[in-house]
Symmetry: D2
Subunit: 464 residues, 4 copies
Amino acid sequence: MKHNSASISELKIAYLGGGSREWARKLMFDLTLCPELSGQVALYDIDLDAARLNEQLGNWLQDQPGVVSCWSYEAVSTLQQALNGANFVVISIQPGTLECMAQDIAIAEDYGLFFPVGDTTGTPGLVRGLRAATIYADFAREIAAVCPTAWVINYTNPLTICTRTLTRVEPRLKVFGCCHEVYAVQRMLAGLVNRYLQQPTPPRDEIKINVLGINHFTWIDRAFYQDHDLLAVLRDHIAQPDVLRSYTRAEVESWADWFRSADQVKFELFRRFGILAAAGDRHLVEFLPGFIRSPEELFRWGVIRTPVAWRIARWQAAPQKAHDLMAGRTPLTLTSTGEEGVAQIKALLGLGDLITNVNIENQGQVATLCVPLHAVVETNAHFSRDAVRPIAAGALPTGVQSLIARHVTNQELIIEAALTCDKDLAFQAVFNDPTNRLPLDEAWAMFNRLLGASREYLPGWNID
Amino acid sequence: MKHNSASISELKIAYLGGGSREWARKLMFDLTLCPELSGQVALYDIDLDAARLNEQLGNWLQDQPGVVSCWSYEAVSTLQQALNGANFVVISIQPGTLECMAQDIAIAEDYGLFFPVGDTTGTPGLVRGLRAATIYADFAREIAAVCPTAWVINYTNPLTICTRTLTRVEPRLKVFGCCHEVYAVQRMLAGLVNRYLQQPTPPRDEIKINVLGINHFTWIDRAFYQDHDLLAVLRDHIAQPDVLRSYTRAEVESWADWFRSADQVKFELFRRFGILAAAGDRHLVEFLPGFIRSPEELFRWGVIRTPVAWRIARWQAAPQKAHDLMAGRTPLTLTSTGEEGVAQIKALLGLGDLITNVNIENQGQVATLCVPLHAVVETNAHFSRDAVRPIAAGALPTGVQSLIARHVTNQELIIEAALTCDKDLAFQAVFNDPTNRLPLDEAWAMFNRLLGASREYLPGWNID
Amino acid sequence: MKHNSASISELKIAYLGGGSREWARKLMFDLTLCPELSGQVALYDIDLDAARLNEQLGNWLQDQPGVVSCWSYEAVSTLQQALNGANFVVISIQPGTLECMAQDIAIAEDYGLFFPVGDTTGTPGLVRGLRAATIYADFAREIAAVCPTAWVINYTNPLTICTRTLTRVEPRLKVFGCCHEVYAVQRMLAGLVNRYLQQPTPPRDEIKINVLGINHFTWIDRAFYQDHDLLAVLRDHIAQPDVLRSYTRAEVESWADWFRSADQVKFELFRRFGILAAAGDRHLVEFLPGFIRSPEELFRWGVIRTPVAWRIARWQAAPQKAHDLMAGRTPLTLTSTGEEGVAQIKALLGLGDLITNVNIENQGQVATLCVPLHAVVETNAHFSRDAVRPIAAGALPTGVQSLIARHVTNQELIIEAALTCDKDLAFQAVFNDPTNRLPLDEAWAMFNRLLGASREYLPGWNID
Amino acid sequence: MKHNSASISELKIAYLGGGSREWARKLMFDLTLCPELSGQVALYDIDLDAARLNEQLGNWLQDQPGVVSCWSYEAVSTLQQALNGANFVVISIQPGTLECMAQDIAIAEDYGLFFPVGDTTGTPGLVRGLRAATIYADFAREIAAVCPTAWVINYTNPLTICTRTLTRVEPRLKVFGCCHEVYAVQRMLAGLVNRYLQQPTPPRDEIKINVLGINHFTWIDRAFYQDHDLLAVLRDHIAQPDVLRSYTRAEVESWADWFRSADQVKFELFRRFGILAAAGDRHLVEFLPGFIRSPEELFRWGVIRTPVAWRIARWQAAPQKAHDLMAGRTPLTLTSTGEEGVAQIKALLGLGDLITNVNIENQGQVATLCVPLHAVVETNAHFSRDAVRPIAAGALPTGVQSLIARHVTNQELIIEAALTCDKDLAFQAVFNDPTNRLPLDEAWAMFNRLLGASREYLPGWNID
């Protein structure tokens, strides 16, 4: 790495999950638009072909018009090669396969638990967490051995478990986890500005919020546009007739958008808890009791389950998209992706401070007794030269603390279980999950079927 | 109060709920057998006739053979009269009526939640807690005004909420809550001594245990008879064929004992969490997800629901029992009741130290991050002259901490709600309860019906 | 207050200590240069004439060339008038008189304790703290009654005690304390850049530091200029011959600057504790054992005692300076004072975020067990619309925690003592101060003489 | 070890410092009088001859009239031999030599610090702590390797540092430290009963106290004899004329008792802090600023410095005493020594519970924020079968917390320094000690001379 007056060259980024169709490509695009940085990206993936395709795509990008930086991409076949000399390590992987994810969700459905996403919490998310923590424990040890001073940026879900595993195993690693989930709520609030305040819809980053909680279950206790208190506006909004209402299956299925939701869960939570949840309803229902008991219940709240089959199809179609782009069959549009990874990297290199929300170990930024120090939480933080320092976000209301606390404990249990191959600990997390509706013996049976389906990603486990 | 060399006279005990058919009479009997103490008991009850009957019974007792102490009883018509000059305040009341309790349970059943007891936690227990905390807040203020240095002993359920309300409202009161629930587990363990160690069944108090948790949800992480590790014995026990098994409705109903249980929940918890729950299964299922979803599920685990109708009948029959006793139609047998109230009073008066389990504010005796200081917990404590000092009981396993933590928070929420008439806070506790299986809107509907049924015990509340 | 698109008008600032010769005038000057803000400043002072002079000066300023804002000044005769409708409250007062301060220091000298400043800690600082906390308790109650949502900015020393008293008495007030003490250390480090890195001396705000501790006893555990680790440079610096050395009285007295110091204490602390103290040596020796035992010892370390007589003379000369300015006998130069008050006010009004060091209640930003939550500490914080949120600054080394902890406790004791007129508590702080070299009886005698001298500022105290 | 119905045989006790003239012999005597226990004691000492003399004495004792138990003694030449199969490990050693101790004290005197004892805190105690922690770290590792489930009882000073080092190095060891220092205060209070309450002086154990703090710096916040509040009596006592007074050198030297003190420091502390220190004044002055500045100051308070020369003479005379006893030249009197070691051992073996004061890791028994968890503190504890559980002792007044906190931190610093050979950390403890009156450079010089004198007990240290 070489510091010049206002730019850095010879930077090395190790990308674990370098065959990623989504996050890796977003990073490539944002790097092309950043004149202050140049260097190389090493792409490591257990699917080497996928990494090679990204290598090809990345290097092709360099020659396109509008590119203002200079980066080279190389697919590498070992983790060590990727990490060697890295200044940053970016991780976005699939912990197991999409088929594995399909199994996680299908088995839970056999027991009457219907998860719309299945990658963060609840039975499928926790078992996915076991697989992920197993893989991340290796990453942690390898990074500590090869590039211990590199900054590690995690995008993989379950984001909290992945991020926390790295410092649980190697406490000195410099780690944070990133997620853009809160953007959608900012956009919803921006819409209220237009609807109720007779102003043009502002860009989402002009909606000033205080965020605190855990990833996909963060909360907003303060939201302003200029001098306008948007939580007060929201309170009026949900009191309008027809804002709170039921949905039907037909209505929800007509959306033809697997990621859309109707905010009904969010609004109802706001009524009863007085604070705004900052994730999509598809995620929210997975953190709460009562909602996932049937597909009909979910439809009633305007929540649709994203089919894993659709994810698989999207995944399979992705290489062709890359080929189409490089062959000129699809036009290339170089614009910022809206992600903040490159801005964060710049700030950590001393090229200007940044304040944004991020997932890191709790040092008191969430002043909530039930969230222990070291658990990974999401709040705003101050990024500056070689430092990410969380900004105190205050305390959550007691009722919300309780909603969060059990998930924090479950995440810690899953990591502990993964590191010690302890089936009982992992089961305790599954049983304690608020979506669980089963008595001990049935929950145990379900859990064992899930473990069986993940067998090959849980080496060292004693699985029947 | 007058201290003599090894005895105390002119003691005054205020009994709130002085018409109590159970606890008040137990105290009377145990006082007759305690030669070191004499004085008066003031019986206060909103049912003055019930208090007068106990006055009559207590004074009659004084003249019976075998009585070794000198006590006078007086029913009084105001709280102030009872408290005036009191050295001890004993409280055992019905927060609301038994009909109220019947409603609590019946409404929850309409929503598919079947509570075997309904006096401690879960929807009925929490709403009962609202009523109780409202009453106890008055008690607290009155005691602080009239006899601020008296020791207060609480027996009413929900025991944690009642006990905690007193110091939440008046932090300087000297308060503890008593419960004999753990005795049954000691007796179960004593049975194992006989079955597996070829020894006569020892008395329960020779089973040495370390207890920690919250009332009706305490846990035993160490149990010894002499040098024998009884948790190891238990581990072998449940591995025997036929120990873990299903029950049928017919089998359970044949017991003809509304308080019996089969320990199946306790054993299954022990298998999965590695620690022994110290309350009856009827209570345990009310603290956990999954078990109370149907009467059949409960029967399967050998758990029966105690009918409130039976409680009402028992209550109505109680005065006749007193009259029969005084008229000589039933023989009087003066033996210790096995309760520890009088022993605790003696220790607090400086007549010999005592170690026993008790419910008091957490000062660190439960070394569990999720249980905040000041929440009321149950562990062993050292009783000595004018002091109850808890003994450090160590930490619970993480998975059990999580089971307990949500109840602790809910108890605190209920008390806060009762003190501020805050419907939302109370609802949050109901929604967050692990037995809750309902989405927000249905839980809210159930909660409102319950509030409606308790309307007259919730003055100042805005109930539709 | 009126929000326009990018400016605020009709702002009201209450200035307590509005006759202040230093801080009030700095604020006036900086306000003239801030085009985004306009409004009125109410000047309240127990010396009404001094406030009137500032009123005259402030209003005269408005008509001078170069002024880009519109402010009016008014001296008011009651605290209520000043606070009425205020959006901001700025406080800089003399707690007692300068003669009082002279006594504080002189009495301590009679007992062999020689304080160079005497306004922050040690016997004189703690007794000054008693006077200040008494006055600030009144301020707190009045602000809470009249303008409870105003932001309060404190400049008075002892800064920690003053700032903390406000929220100790009225926990909901929005308060912070400001001090520029760390600037000098940044300038010292900027000098090292020039001396060792062959670069022009950078401006102080390009020296990036992490500051943590308590006011006048903050510490820097990280200091960078661009990519250069300045603590490493400092380590080399003090290893140069002649950097660490003794001073003589003659040498120190020749400086003719009552605020200068030689950094010898700071450098020696850095050698032994491995972390850089961020205040002038004159303050540092007052927080430590061993240095203030004689004037000679202080001279040896290059520390001079600022004579209070000089402060009195400066105070007396100040009105003439104002008159000279207004009469045109002294030319007016309108430039920024380098203070951050106006920038902070702008950020709190939503006109752009700001990160700077500030003194506020500890919410975990100092991750040091010995510093309890709510004690006032100094770290960086993020100023945004109606919020000051501290940024996590990490933990201090254990040895430094211990140096700080006793001062934090003493500050809390002094406030508690002031609020309850408790002589014993206040004495305990004096006895526990690390500069104390006296056994209990002599310390008690000294303390009583000091109380006697402050008698008229300690109403309600029982002083012999 | 063999459990019989009410006794234990084949017990093994490892005695480290088995040549001890004081503690080892007390244990031998108390064991002879305990009919429930029998077994062997392995005596290990770096002075093997001293251990052999104790072996001889112990075995000789077995044949004396009045002995009711059966024990055999053996001096062993390696630590491993001693620990092999041990159920209990008792440690009382001299960390360094008495000559070393003489040096510690003499060097501090050269710098104007006059320590009456010099074995616990202050410069000599902290340097002694460095030597001790170095030795105890080895003990910890060896015990963990050879007899990890044995209970370890420590008597060596500095007691807190020694006890804490064992669990700091091996957290699973079962350890406590014992000291009888508080007995003297109980006896002083018993004297007040006689003087003011017209009753015969009661035995010390009828003075019921609540003790909390750290060893040799514990405090009593509650003391009763029957119903009499002895702190109230003490308050009256010190208000009597002539109770508080100065002493002269001649008066103090006339006592001809090196351990006596006049309680003047204790009484003056009680006046100013409202709580009774529970150690002798000789120890107290070593924990406080101001008293040890000169021999005259100490005499004034009635404190004498115990000459190490006298300790050396006593040590040299001890073997002869043993020989005299065995040869019948001195009569043998078999009575309890008043120490509680054997009673503690019995309780830990399940032969009856015991409550007594003891030094163990803080689990919250001292509810004082400044005393971190895991630091070793002294309070009452409940001894039962294989468990020592501390009893909650409440919080100290803030002013006393502060007095204690700096010592707790210093003890932790010394242990950390010993384990890492870190000269700076150890120096920080010396500089931070409240008795320190020296600026950084002089304190550093003193510290280095002390290290030099301990050179041979600090292997691995870089000492000039």
